[in-house]
Amino acid sequence: MTSLTDTEFIVHTIAQTVVDNEKYFGDLDSVVGDGDFGFSLARGFEIVLHDWDEFDRSTVATFLQKVGVTITSRIGGTSGPIWGTAFLRAAAIAKARGDDLGGADLVAMLRSAIEGIMARGNASLGDKTLLDALAPMTDAIEVGVTNGDDGASIVAAAASSARTAAEATSTLIAKRGRASYTGERSIGSPDAGAIAVAVLAEALAAQWPSKNNSN
């Protein structure tokens, strides 16, 4: 069990879950958006799965970078730059920290991804974007890491906090992205990106026990 295997597990689970949820994610984006979120993500992560064996795995950093580049270059809409940036930022942290990555490094990678998304999308917490699930999830992971919890508990806590936070975006008014054009009508339904984060975290939590058999 190495950091690379864990990274592969995480990325592969994310990719597969995105592909499996194409329709659901699209429906979420239809409520006050334009319905393409599922399609866009799926077209990119489908290529990640397709090219899976060819990604340079010299280090966790090169691996994440290749994934980030694939996403940035093949996903359109807002999601391409946003999700691509997240992976590229995580790769940069991994590169700086070497290949023996622990819980604290994961938190740093997520924090950097969040900052990257904020910069790229000119978005803040509370703007009703995926950040509103990603940040609380990262907080939960950080608490677990600080407490010395085991992996399974940490990922379970991450999933539950992502879910709670994602659902809570229902009460927010969208200030970024296409949903923001509907103004107050964006209140009452959760943000598609935030729910996607929760779904991905839950998939990771569910598959964590079997992760050593995966790929």
Binding site: T72, G76, P81
Partner: protein, 331 residues
């Protein structure tokens, strides 16, 4: 879903292929980057003009490529900005000594893709500038700091900078002209029905039999508010009043008036709307000097229409009147 479509994932490529087959002498389709360009390629004595955006707005923008209009269009999938790489490759392919102008409707996804592509192209030494278009008055509140959207008004920007670039204007001059046109162009749309993206297969929202969405954009997203259907005279007021008040357009102004169909509304209704809008403007002392009726920037099969006004001065009027030729044509 009932559409002329095979695999929804191939909807955009198959449409682009058809477009190129219908215009074998003038258009080239480059499948690797999903782009449509003039088959004559970039010219070093002319700034190359490129517009990108999601698909689903046809004839915008892939069918606006041709002399006096765009040099290339770089569409994404339906309602999704093109991936940054495609924009970057398109920019390189269209590189000209006089530079490249990227026209971008103001949406988060499009801005990000074009910003990144511009950065990368600049690093490669391409002389590239980006002009953002944001003519939609339906997006009222500046506290949603994403700003206004670009909708059908982009036609006038393309037409004006397209004409000026054919006449030899340089990149700065085109930016000046484009920004001027944007500054005097305002639009507003309403939907009678929702649209159905091929990949989704069902309407993006549900509207009752007597309901309309006011202030929709061009991506099938809901508008600012829902209302009951009213007679055409009142529908025109709903669209025209916020437009006129916004710039504002005033007595004595000469304007171009566009009635743009959103994809599913027949041209008979658009001319009916045009007649009403023309007379309402005349009653306010505003002279319609140029008229545009038809589909310019659509939202797939959405029934509905938008109105756009452009305040004219001699320079803009001349650029709009200059000859142009594109893939969609009647004869």
């Amino acid at each position: 879903m009932k559409k002329f479509v095979n695999d929804p994932q191939q909807f955009v490529p198959e449409m682009l292929k058809g477009l190129a087959l219908a215009n074998p002498d003038t258009l080239r389709y480059v499948p690797e980057y999903n782009l449509i360009m003039r088959s004559s390629g970039p010219r070093d004595d002319k700034v190359s003009i490129i517009q990108g955006s999601g698909s689903g707005h046809e004839p915008a923008h892939v069918m606006a490529v041709g002399p006096g209009m765009l040099d290339a269009a770089c569409p994404g999938d339906v309602f999704a900005a093109p991936p940054m790489d495609y924009v970057y490759e398109t920019t390189k392919l269209l590189n000209s000594e006089k530079g490249v102008l990227l026209l971008v409707n103001n949406y988060t996804g499009d801005r990000m893709a074009f910003d990144m592509a511009q950065e990368m192209s600049l690093a490669d030494g391409v002389n590239v500038k980006t002009l953002f278009i944001d003519d939609d008055v339906a997006v009222k509140d500046s506290t949603w700091t994403v700003g206004r959207r670009g909708v059908a008004g982009n036609f006038f920007v393309i037409k004006a900078v397209g004409a000026a670039s054919e006449a030899g204007a340089d990149l700065d001059e085109l930016m000046r002209i484009g920004e001027k046109v944007v500054s005097v162009t305002r639009s507003m749309g309403l939907a009678l029905t929702a649209c159905t993206p091929p990949a989704k297969g069902s309407p993006l929202f549900e509207l009752g039999d007597d309901e309309i969405e006011i202030g929709v954009g061009i991506h099938g997203e809901p508008g600012r508010r829902r209302a009951k259907i009213v007679p055409a005279n009142e529908l025109v007021d709903i669209l025209l009043e916020p437009i006129v008040a916004d710039l504002p357009y005033a007595s004595g102004d000469r304007v171009a008036l566009m009635v743009n169909g959103l994809g599913g509304t027949p041209i008979s209704e658009l001319y009916l709307v045009y007649g009403i809008a023309h007379e309402k403007l005349a009653a306010q002392g505003i002279t319609v000097a140029r008229s545009y009726v038809g589909e310019y920037c659509t939202s797939l099969d959405m029934a509905g229409a938008s109105i756009t006004l452009v305040k004219l001065d001699d320079e803009i009027e001349e650029l709009l009147a200059a000859p142009a030729e594109i893939g969609t044509r009647i004869f």
